[in-house]
Amino acid sequence: MDPQLVVDKWPGTIFTVAIGAKSNEGGSRNEEIKIGGQNCLPLMFKEGVIAHPPQIAFEILDIPGVDLSEELVKVYGAALKDPLSWAQKCVQEFGAKLISVKMQGSHPDFGNRSPLESAKFIELLLKKVNAPLIITGSGDDANDSLVIPACSEAAKGERCLIGSAVQDSYKTLVASVLADGHSLIAESPIDINIAKQLNILISDMGLGLERIVINPTIGALGYGLEYAYSIMERARIAALAGDKTLACPFICFVGQEAWKTKEAKVNPEQGIIWETITATSLIQAGADLLVMQHPRAVSKVSQFMEQLFKK
């Protein structure tokens, strides 16, 4: 007898989150990108419907590239000096469908840019590129709580994905996202209990779970990848089993983590491999949105997905 495939069916479905509003919806993006919507574990095509394959966003900063590895400086060249050209290069030369901008310039160590100036940058960026946007803070909580709401307002109606809400500071951000019609990144420190709690706190404020994307926080290959992997897997299984409070898509900031590693720093080729392997592993854990940095790593991961999703 031929071996029989054991097929699981799940009662739950992951929420679909849309990023980017086109002109008919009051925005100016060229595309609306959807993530989530699956009712089965990653790549288990026979068990359910995978409505949308994982998506990749290119990450840029709102100031000339700082703290980047030599390899990234080389590949983006002169464009790094002007964030708008950098974004444009991602779209035109490397085919980026989504841009993720980190508001690094507002960090006290990188210029302490004001909320007003930061918002102006977002306005310019929206004019320069028409790909859907992800906007994230610099990591300085005090400044982020002023800068990100200003950026959110500047992008009102464009249905961006905005982050990051954390357990100790989420209210201002939730209010902004609600007012300006965006979706929200909810970030937890590789901790499934906090991820769940944060989603409840956010939805209690009136932002539906279908507008939340979980950033589970990841480590690169060799730097805690397996912890993130197991958290994502556990959350996804609970969500598919019917726990709506965890049924949100995942965003993973792969590029930042991969290019921080010493393996990436000592050898550029190795860096590309590191970013690629981290990304492909996370796709298998359930990542829906990968924020990456090196175009060649993006291209390798895209090829990998094409193979996996070939009908």
């Binding site: 499934i192 209990n193 709690q197 409840i200 959350a235 609970a238 019917g242 726990d243």
Partner: protein, 262 residues
Amino acid sequence: MYVIGELINGMYSNIALALKEKNKAIIQKCALDQIASGADALDISCGPASKQPLVDLSWLINTIQEVTDKPLCLDSGKPQVIAEGLKVCKNKTIINSTTADLDKLDAIVPLAKQYNSKLIGITISVKGIPQNKDQRLELAATIISHCTENGFPIEDLYLDPIVLPVNIAQAQMKDILATIQDFKLLADPGPKTVLGLSNVSQGTNLRSLINRTFLTMAVANGLDSAILDPTDKELMDALITAELILNKNIYCDSYLEAYRKK
């Protein structure tokens, strides 16, 4: 845990009155309150005092179906009443119940099959209430083999070990809890298990405390379903916490709220 709300029962004076006056609002509010409190299905009984159970049960079913599509658990000892009730059900159904007696099984199992209904089998027979675990298992085996022979799927069968009031049958409590586990071993796939919970505290002073303590112990023994009062918040909190401790849901600080959001 599959929670079946017990409050729509002619034994309760408000329901008896609503039945008598054909007051839909009382019944519908009772249904919706239970669902809002976490009931997955609603038990419906016109109670022993009803003079015309055939009419009353159908009226209750139609009244409830106007406001919810949750499964309905048709509660009557009379196969004829169950048969009439099933005819008017649009919602999914659970038949409550058959005993281990052959005439009862012959009447009820075909109905469950015909209407694609789930079925509660109580381990009781004309000989009376079982006095120990072995007698319960023997009656359970009778019900299971009858279902198997007649093509009723065992995974849709819910076995009830019959809970007795703790002040009357204290010595049997441990046996009843152990039986919940042992029922599962009688078939593969195993049957599900259910309890009519409130019976355990009948005639006692601290009903709610006894109910919730017994429920958590039963859950720890693998109970799948219970007929209970979902509007007893402390009872539901204890149930949610018991399931959390058994790793059925992921912890978070607001886990009670998280469960209720489902």
